[in-house]
């Protein structure tokens, strides 16, 4: 894979058609995967309104995202009162189990003491739900940076160290997910773990909160996701897996609290990566790979061969969050394609990916175009914003990552595990196939 040298990237004073999402949105995403959690963006109303807009279009779900609605005066005179009011109102209306208080560029620039305000609130109104403060200034990193800050803050706040007398619960396994895992992916991993006879505990668990369901009663969009009691029980697990490097430190922290073992899984997007993961689970669980998984594997192998000629040697351009890039690159390379350019929407070095991709401070679509100009590209995969640029430059496009609004059911799609990869191959292969079979004179 090609890469700009960091020097090249840093020179740019502007970003055109950027892919980078900002940190508060990433932090909010973690709380959307927690049961009865409400994330509050500590900033002006617009911060919450805009982030809510993007998340709503992607998930096609109500997004419970609050705001401290700062105004000129509160910014100048201090925001403690706004924090108090926001917490008061949120607790009375939504009755949340946990609240995420997420800073923004505004409050980080003004140097607001949000921790102090939250502590004081707890003192003055005891008995309320835990309030997890996450620092996510828009000007530091992107979605992944905010996501990581949030998942680590949640672990610190909600996963207690395992007590000396408390044994591990046999077969219970913690799964800490990075932002590359949508609801469909989380579901797939949980299903795999459960199929191996183990008990999965996921953080965050978008598969039950943001999976798009219309249940009885609960209309506020707060139902589903990891509960506080799930988090409390995480310290009773002997094994913790984290998925994607963005979740690695959180996974390590959980394992440290449980005094158990931690394994980071960079991706589950190739057949052998899934095989290896199942081997790990086998060693933990001691059982057998069940028939259902074997059927999925047989189907995956068959499809890999059915589609291999479509992927062999094609040149792909990717743009997205670092974890997603790692996963998607593995899937393409595993099928014989080459990734000729990858642009990260957040700084890959900060997540341990420095060997592969250029710095992502300025990762934008303009860069994406610049990289492949002069070389033929068979497919461009990025979030839906890429569609317009891809169309303009004549490159076949397929949306992936976040936000995606040009296809339906995307949050439920999986690309990991035997079944996820099997579906991914059909999805991507069908897109690639559109280049075939068209008669030249038609």
């Amino acid at each position: 894979m090609q890469g700009l040298s960091p020097g090249q990237a840093k020179k740019k004073p502007l970003s055109i058609d950027p892919l980078k999402m900002s940190a508060p949105l990433g932090a909010a995403l973690v709380f959307l995967g927690m049961d009865r959690a409400v994330p509050i963006l500590h900033g002006s109303q617009g911060c919450a309104a805009f982030a809510k807009n993007v998340l709503t279009r992607h998930f096609r779900e109500p997004i419970p995202l609050g705001t401290t609605a700062l105004s000129q005066e509160t910014v100048i005179l201090g925001a403690q009162d706004a924090v108090f009011k926001a917490l008061d109102n949120t607790i009375r209306k939504q009755n949340p189990s946990v609240i995420g208080m997420i800073t923004t560029a505004l409050t980080e620039t003004s140097g607001d003491d949000v921790e102090g305000a939250v502590i004081e609130y707890g003192v003055s109104r005891p008995g309320g739900p835990p309030v997890v403060v996450v620092h996510a200034p828009d000007f530091r990193g992107g979605l992944s940076t905010g996501y990581r800050a949030a998942v680590e803050a949640v672990v610190k706040a909600c996963v207690p160290p395992r007590g000396d007398g408390q044994p591990w619960i046999p077969g219970q396994v913690n799964l800490i997910f990075g932002p590359g895992y949508g609801p469909g992916d989380v579901e797939e991993v949980k299903n795999m773990v459960a199929a191996m006879g183990l008990l999965p505990l996921a953080l965050p668990d978008l598969s039950t909160s943001m999976d798009g369901h219309l249940g009885d009663g609960e209309l506020d969009g707060l139902d589903g996701g990891t509960s506080l009691s799930d988090l409390a029980r995480m310290s009773w697990s002997a094994y913790t897996f984290s998925f994607g490097r963005t979740a690695q430190r959180a996974g390590e922290d959980v394992a440290a609290r449980a005094k158990g073992r931690h394994v980071n899984i960079p991706h589950l997007n190739t057949l052998d990566a899934v095989d290896d993961f199942l081997e790990l689970l086998l060693r933990i669980g001691g059982g057998k790979v069940p028939e259902s998984m074997r059927i999925q594997r047989d189907r995956l192998m068959d499809r890999m061969l059915d589609v291999h000629a479509l992927f062999s040697g094609i040149r792909v351009v990717l743009a997205g969050e670092p974890d997603w890039l790692c996963m998607t690159e593995a899937a393409f390379v595993g099928m014989g394609a080459s990734v000729v350019a990858a642009v990260a929407a957040d700084d890959p070095k900060a997540f341990g990916y420095s060997a592969w991709w250029p710095e992502g401070d300025y990762g934008d679509l303009e860069e994406c175009v610049a990289r492949w100009e002069g070389c033929s590209v068979d497919l461009w995969v990025s979030n839906s914003h890429g569609a317009r640029v891809a169309r303009r430059t004549g490159v076949p496009f397929l949306s992936g990552g976040l936000p995606v609004w040009d296809r339906l059911g995307v949050p439920n799609e999986a690309s990991v595990g035997y079944r996820g990869l099997w579906e991914w191959l059909a999805r991507v292969g069908s897109r690639l196939m559109q280049r075939e079979e068209v008669h030249p004179s038609e």
């Binding site: 055109i16 949105l25 401070d361």
Partner: protein
């Protein structure tokens, strides 16, 4: 349709909804919610344009949204820099669907996104140098741009950057307008102040004089406050042109910097979205003596009324031509009503939108036999509520900046058939089993303005309400 009893009933509903609040909040919110009563002139004049309470799920945006997202963004041949961190520009990117003609990246930049992508060092050391460099680079990369605007995000206002100085300096360098807009998100209580700030920035940095070296005609008009969402302005222009008027400027959907600058040549300013653009109309009236008239192009009743009102500012020729145009479209309007009215008659609508829509669309719904039983604004002012009073039926509930809770309560207590609001609310009402249309962006459809827009409007309301899916929202099995 309604009656005194009905007014009482509605007041009772409002009271019931508010009882859950603590006393202080209840009193405060009561001021924001009225029930229209022809006997009581002030019944619709609810409290407005005050700060939302932190922690409520308001759907309001911020000043940046009002400037970049609404007023400035659609000006197609200028480059609008989201100055500050990446999120604001990123999240609002292409969510308003302001259509335009032109070649993207060459003569038009509407659906592109430019940001200075502030990093920590920019916050610490200031962003003026970066901004200067960026403007120079942009002008080099896109030489056909006709101007550059600086849309300030929150940190700019805090770190003491002097974007006005940068604007003056770079404008001289590139020989084009560079417009600093102080639309930091923390200013004001909603996007509304952003509209005002943006209007003022056009006034101060762009607007020209009446001495424009082009021959005007007696029929020159400017269209103000049509953002061409889904092609709205194109439907609008068609009508004015057919009436015999010459549209010299379009503010601001599919509009250009030159049109903005040359607007003072207009003999009459036609304003659709009063909330977001009244400032500039008042300014032009004061400074150049240009009169302005409000119009409403939703639904045949209001379209015809508006056309005749506008024509009355001109001579017989225009007035006769206007009648001919109305006559020509009559069969299409009738056919639309005949097709959809039987399917929509009596359906009850609840609205919560911004700008002009909470009152302007009422006529269009009524043309289809529907009733707007509750309506309100995200970010209206006193004058909006005054105007609303003239449009609503008796006993309509009117709310200002309602909370999600209030809306959900009204929706279920008023037995609503259709909710019109924004994308952020859409799926909440879906979960309640309530048909919903996005009334900011027309839900990826449009146009809704003008004669061409009405059949689209009617079809969309029909498809939302009469889809068979709504009948299936129940669970048949016991748990």
């Amino acid at each position: 349709m309604s009656s005194g009893t009905s007014i009482e009933e509605k007041r009772k509903i409002v009271d019931e909804v508010l009882t859950v609040y603590p006393k202080k909040t209840r009193e405060e919110r009561a001021g924001h919610i009225g029930v229209s009563d022809p006997e009581d002139a002030g019944s619709c004049a609810v409290a407005n344009n005050v700060k939302s309470r932190p922690g409520v799920m308001t759907i309001r945006g911020c000043a940046y949204a009002g400037s970049k997202g609404v007023v400035w963004g659609p000006v197609k041949d200028a480059i609008h820099i989201s100055h500050g961190p990446v999120g604001c520009g990123q999240y609002s990117w292409w969510s308003r669907r302001n259509y335009y003609n032109g070649i993207l990246g060459v003569t038009s930049f509407v659906t592109m996104q430019f940001t200075s992508d502030f990093q920590e060092r920019d916050v610490v050391f200031g962003g003026d140098k970066k901004l200067t460099k960026m403007i120079q680079d942009l002008d080099r990369l896109f030489p056909l741009n006709k101007g550059i605007t600086i849309q300030s995000e929150c940190p700019i206002g805090l770190i003491g950057d002097d974007i006005e100085a940068v604007a003056r300096e770079t404008s001289a360098q590139i020989g084009k307008p560079v417009v600093p807009v102080r639309c930091e998100g923390f200013r004001g209580v909603s996007q509304s102040l952003g509209h005002h700030i943006a209007n003022d920035s056009i006034r101060d940095w762009v607007l020209g004089s009446r001495d424009i070296p082009d021959e005007g005609t007696p029929y020159d008009v400017a269209v103000i406050g049509d953002y061409n969402i889904g092609g709205d302005a194109w439907s609008t222009l068609k009508i004015f042109r057919e009436m015999g008027l010459r549209v010299v400027a379009l503010w601001s959907g599919d509009g250009t910097m030159q049109e903005l600058a040359h607007t003072p040549r207009a003999k009459l300013n036609l304003i659709h979205c009063y909330r977001s653009m009244n400032y500039i109309c008042r300014h032009m009236e004061e400074k150049y003596g240009i009169p302005w008239v409000e119009y409403n192009f939703f639904g045949p009743t209001k379209i015809k009324e508006s056309m005749r009102k506008i024509a009355s500012y001109f001579d017989d020729k225009i007035q006769e031509q206007t009648e001919k145009v109305i006559e020509a479209y009559e069969p299409m309007m009738q056919a639309t009503i005949e097709k959809y009215r039987p399917r929509l008659e009596g359906k009850k609508v609840m609205l919560l939108v911004g700008g002009l829509r909470p009152r302007h669309t009422i006529g269009a719904y009524e043309d289809l036999g529907m009733e707007v039983v509750a309506t309100g604004y995200e970010f209206a002012h006193e004058d909006d509520y005054e105007r609303t009073a003239r449009e609503v039926q008796e006993a309509t509930i009117i709310y200002d900046d309602p909370t999600a809770y209030e809306l959900e309560q009204f929706a279920s207590r008023l037995d609503i058939d259709l909710v019109g609001s924004g994308i952020k609310e859409k799926y909440v009402y879906h979960k309640m089993g309530l048909p919903f249309r996005q009334m900011h962006s027309w839900d990826y459809s449009g146009p809704y303005h003008g004669f061409d827009g009405f059949p689209v409007f009617a079809r969309d309301m029909d498809m939302a309400i009469n889809n068979p899916s709504w009948d299936l929202i129940q669970t048949p099995f016991e748990s």
